[in-house]
């Protein structure tokens, strides 16, 4: 191996030396390929693992925490829900349809690997501003890709969010979350156990998908052809995964497996390596036994291939025949490719002959973990651009906010997702702040929310991440749910840059603080670093996914209010334009968000949750992007009835700037509507409470001091629904 090779594979000189030292020799090609992938950021978490140790991961309801394929929490009656969010940013930037589709496929397999049946998908997407051909292309492909995979699998996509901000233009974010349901006692772990047990690979054939960077290892002979033809794009096949899901469920129901693991990044190398590591065993894999899509694959290609829709199982020898027979029933390829050993070594054979041999510990846990070198940037490092006229009236501003791509209705996207298959969906994206799924198995329902406003995190990584977490909890409260557990995906730029390192550290601290306060343990997640292009890094974007439970899905507050309802503002809402949508439109973004205490927000969340659970409140939403005016307008649009509200109490109590009151953002605000007498019962309970208006007419009228927003509900609706036309114009959608 030339020294240049390890660098081309992404290993530092120091890491390469460490590998040689641990092995007592230089690695051969197969071994080097395996090290380069398992010692990559993606698999080894070498720049984030130390930080993640600060997250709270324990709680009475936790069944599986970080370290497994997905986290899981107990939801009673012998059932658990397993969930995880994962990114597929880079593949989606290259090929949006397949990138997003395989992102969904990958996160589904993590949940399937626990023995759970996936029951919901959520997606969290970030793109550049929707005015460019590139953004149109990415949005079209990503939305179709997510729909294609989830719809074909028969798993409902019930929620999500889409933000449009310039820093994501070249580097979009595609995060997908999956929630699965399992009988707690039937869940499986990934750890290999029992020397002599067989290793079975099943699912798709192994091809050259996703080999990418490692292809520098290809032998000269293979290099003679056109190297550009060597496939690296992974193609998703939801039909194969659908068979795989049913097959796994049946294998587990028949109790035929010792352990189960999906094949994700780094393919066989990581799944077999991690299985052996978790079980404290060794493992032998004979690549001559791996069913291939192309005949002439080299050993290293087979070991690192990222072909989709494959699973690995450890099976007791006398159950192997039954396992293979079930795979045949489900028309999915399967073969015994190796054996669990007690050697502590990962051995790669080719037709019985050893072609690589690595200590499992060296491969899986040997990668050095790095300390970050954080340094707070002195000033705002992202571009600003003005898109709203300086003299826009409050009514113009209100309409401009409703039409803002990040706020405007995403229904055109979510309508492309099957949100109802599975017969559990009580609420999906667009009908309530959190998705609600019925779980008759344990006599309750669960609620799921996913959130992360990168712009606010860019302004203040700690506070922005606290807010994202609180917003998830607020979304759950509105449907009467309390948090059970959290998953997250940390999408950041290059952590070797001090400014990004600082963002990452502060964001993780914020996540830890909020989860501690909410008593919501983090049971899993994913980290995606190096999201940058020559134009700079993305906004730091921690995406928080939260799962909660509620006793009765019949008591869920929705977004439709009725004429005559009184309107209340509940919670310690302290609006400010800092980091807001309006400040963005004015091109005035800068560092810093107002600091807030978590405890009073938590109290408001609890009050709203109880009110909704009691059934007394039927309309509730939390105040988020675009401030109170936007929240009121959205409720008006949803039900076709206007309102008249006066924010005087907000002004008097907090800031005197009418714009802060009308359009300011911040955590801790809920708008509730309903019978005045019922609402008033929420006063005097230690949580800020004000009646601010009434539901009536066909206009949204919001006053703050001298300033007045006055827009027709129809106008508001037209602004809110304007995004689809802006985005779809030039896409033919022939990708499938």
């Amino acid at each position: 191996m030339s020294e240049a090779t390890h660098r081309e594979l992404g290993l530092t000189d120091g890491e390469f030396e460490l590998i040689c030292e641990k092995m007592g020799r230089e690695p051969n090609g197969v071994e080097l390929a395996m090290f380069s992938l398992l010692w990559s950021e993606h698999c080894a978490y070498k720049h984030s693992r130390k930080l993640l140790k600060n997250l709270p991961t324990e709680g009475p309801r936790v069944v599986m925490g970080p370290g497994e394929n997905a986290g899981a929490v107990d939801i009673g009656n012998g059932y658990s829900v397993a969930f995880k969010v994962e990114s597929h940013n880079h593949p989606s930037a290259v090929e949006p349809f397949q990138g997003a589709a395989t992102g969904v496929g990958g996160i589904l397999r993590d949940v399937i690997a626990l023995g759970a049946r996936p029951i919901a998908i959520l997606d969290s997407l970030r793109f550049g501003e929707p005015d460019t051909e590139r953004t149109h292309y990415l949005v079209d492909g990503v939305v179709r890709g997510i729909g294609h995979y989830g719809n074909s699998m028969g798993i409902p996509t019930v929620g999500g969010e889409i933000y449009f901000e310039p820093p994501y233009e070249q580097n979009p974010l595609v995060n997908a979350m999956c929630v699965g349901l399992a009988r707690t006692d039937e869940m499986v772990r990934a750890a290999a156990a029992g020397a002599g047990n067989k290793v079975v690979l099943f699912g798709s054939l192994t091809g050259r998908d996703g080999i990418g960077g490692a292809s520098v290892l290809a032998s000269a002979e293979l290099d003679e052809g056109d190297d550009a033809k060597r496939p690296t794009v992974q193609i998703g096949d939801p039909f194969e995964e659908s068979k795989l899901l049913e097959c796994c469920q049946e294998l587990l129901a028949e109790d035929l497996l010792v352990s189960l693991q999906d094949l994700g990044a780094a393919g066989l190398t990581s799944s077999a390596g991690e299985m052996a590591s978790a079980g404290g065993t060794g493992i032998d894999i004979d690549i001559g036994l791996v069913p291939l899509r192309e005949a002439d694959m080299e050993p290293f290609e087979i070991m690192v291939s990222e072909s989709q829709e494959r699973m690995l199982a450890v099976v007791e020898p006398d159950k192997v025949d039954q396992v293979l027979a079930l795979c045949t029933k489900w028309q999915t390829a399967s073969s015994v490719i190796g054996e669990v050993t007690d050697s502590g070594t990962f051995r790669i054979l080719k037709h019985g002959e050893t072609v690589g041999e690595i200590r499992v510990d060296d491969l899986v846990d040997g990668c050095p973990l790095y300390d970050l070198d954080p340094q707070e940037p002195a000033e705002w490092t992202y571009a600003n651009r003005e898109t709203i006229e300086a003299d826009a009236s409050p009514s113009d501003i209100a309409l401009s906010l409703l039409a803002s791509p990040s706020i405007a209705s995403k229904r055109w996207a979510f309508d492309q997702y099957d949100s109802i298959v599975g017969s559990r969906t009580v609420h999906r994206a667009g009908t309530a702040d959190a998705a609600v799924l019925n779980i008759p198995e344990s006599n309750r329902a669960i609620a799921i929310s996913i959130d992360g406003n990168g712009r606010r995190v860019a302004c203040d990584p700690f506070q922005g991440t606290v807010e994202a977490t609180l917003e998830c909890a607020a979304n759950l409260a509105v449907v009467g749910a309390e948090p059970l557990g959290v998953t997250n995906c940390l999408n950041f730029g290059n952590p070797e840059k001090p400014g990004v390192a600082w963002q990452l550290g502060r964001a993780v601290d914020g996540l830890a603080a909020a989860c501690n306060a909410l008593e919501a343990p983090v049971v899993g997640g994913n980290v995606s670093l190096y999201n940058e292009t020559p134009q700079g890094p993305i906004y730091p974007t921690p995406v928080v996914g939260m799962v909660g439970e509620l006793p009765d899905p019949a008591h869920v507050a929705g977004e439709g209010w009725r004429g005559g309802d009184a309107i209340a503002l509940v919670g310690p809402f302290d609006p400010s334009l800092a980091g807001s949508e309006l400040e963005k439109q004015r091109g005035q973004l800068g560092k810093g968000l107002p600091e807030g205490e978590i405890a009073p927000v938590k109290a408001a969340i609890e009050l709203v949750r109880e009110a909704v659970r009691s059934g007394a409140i039927r309309t509730a939403t939390d105040v988020s992007d675009g401030g109170i005016t936007t929240a009121l307008a959205e409720l008006a649009i949803g039900s076709g009835v206007g309102c008249e509200a006066d924010l005087h109490p907000v002004m008097a109590r907090r800031s005197d700037n009418p714009e802060d009151a009308l359009f300011g953002e911040g955590p801790g605000g809920f708008v509730l509507a309903g019978e005045k007498a019922e609402l008033e019962k929420l006063g005097g309970r230690g949580v800020d409470f004000e009646l601010i208006g009434e539901v009536k007419g066909n206009e949204v009228i919001v006053k703050a001091g001298d300033a007045r927003v006055e827009i027709l509900v129809e106008e508001a609706a037209a602004a809110f629904d304007s995004l689809e036309d802006r985005i779809e114009s030039d896409q033919a959608g022939l990708t499938h």
Binding site: H148, S152, P238, F239, K243, D418, I420, V421, S423
Partner: protein, 227 residues
């Protein structure tokens, strides 16, 4: 009533359909899934060919599934007058196999759609419509990518003339460009009915509508009489 719900590799809505059969039967659990390789349908009083993506919908929706051994048995079952309900992908399979007239093309806007919508009950004489009246409106989710009903002019005329239209999309709600707003049709005898919208997703109050139950309850008396 004992329903058999077909299950192909790639089916998605088969459990939902089974759930609907059970709810329609007052919670009695006598219906079952029928694996696509099964050929013995004896004891079953009705068949549901459910929605989903049989064989990934690759090539053409329903094109591969219609060749399964179970479909041969379903054709015999239908020929003997047994009630057969095809939903979405099941409708496509029944059209592909010739048990129902017409074909289903990619939605006019080429995208998958999923939303609640309204259907108007047609004039067709079918056991599945026993609990519904012609002209009645029901609320049922629309959910498909290839749901544009098509038949060449003479066939379309025949379908209309023989009153084989079971459902039309309510005025202004045609989501896919179907000819004559057709959402569902029956065979000439009326015992085979296919529709694109999803009655099995409208059977529980929490989902917003229970209008779909009527289709699963419709054939029950007939089946009871036969038994």
């Amino acid at each position: 009533m004992k329903w058999g719900v077909l299950q192909f590799p790639g089916s998605c809505d088969e459990r939902d359909a089974l759930n609907a059969c059970q709810i329609a039967g007052g919670g009695v659990n006598e219906s079952r899934l029928v694996w696509h390789e099964e050929t013995d349908l004896s004891g079953l009083e009705g068949i549901v060919v459910p929605g989903g993506f049989s064989y990934g919908d690759y090539l053409r929706a329903g094109a591969i599934a219609r060749f399964s051994p179970a479909m041969t048995a379903v054709a015999e079952f239908a020929a003997a007058g047994g009630p057969v309900l095809g939903i979405c992908n099941g409708f496509q399979v029944l059209c592909e196999s010739g048990l129902l007239p017409g074909a289903l093309l990619t939605n006019e806007r080429t995208r998958f759609i999923c939303r609640q919508g309204e259907l108007v009950v047609g004039e067709a004489d079918s056991p599945f419509l026993a609990g519904l009246e012609a002209g009645q409106r029901i609320s049922i989710p629309f959910k498909h990518q290839s749901g544009r009903f098509f038949a060449p002019p003479d066939l379309l005329e025949e379908i209309e003339a023989k009153n084989q239209v079971a459902f039309r999309y309510a005025p202004g709600q045609n989501p896919n460009g179907s000819l004559n707003d057709i959402a569902g049709v029956t065979n000439e005898a009326g015992n085979v009915l296919g529709l694109m919208p999803h009655p099995e997703h409208a059977v529980e109050a929490f989902g917003g509508s229970t209008d779909g139950l009527a289709l699963f309850r419709g054939p029950a008396p007939a089946a009871g009489a036969a038994a």
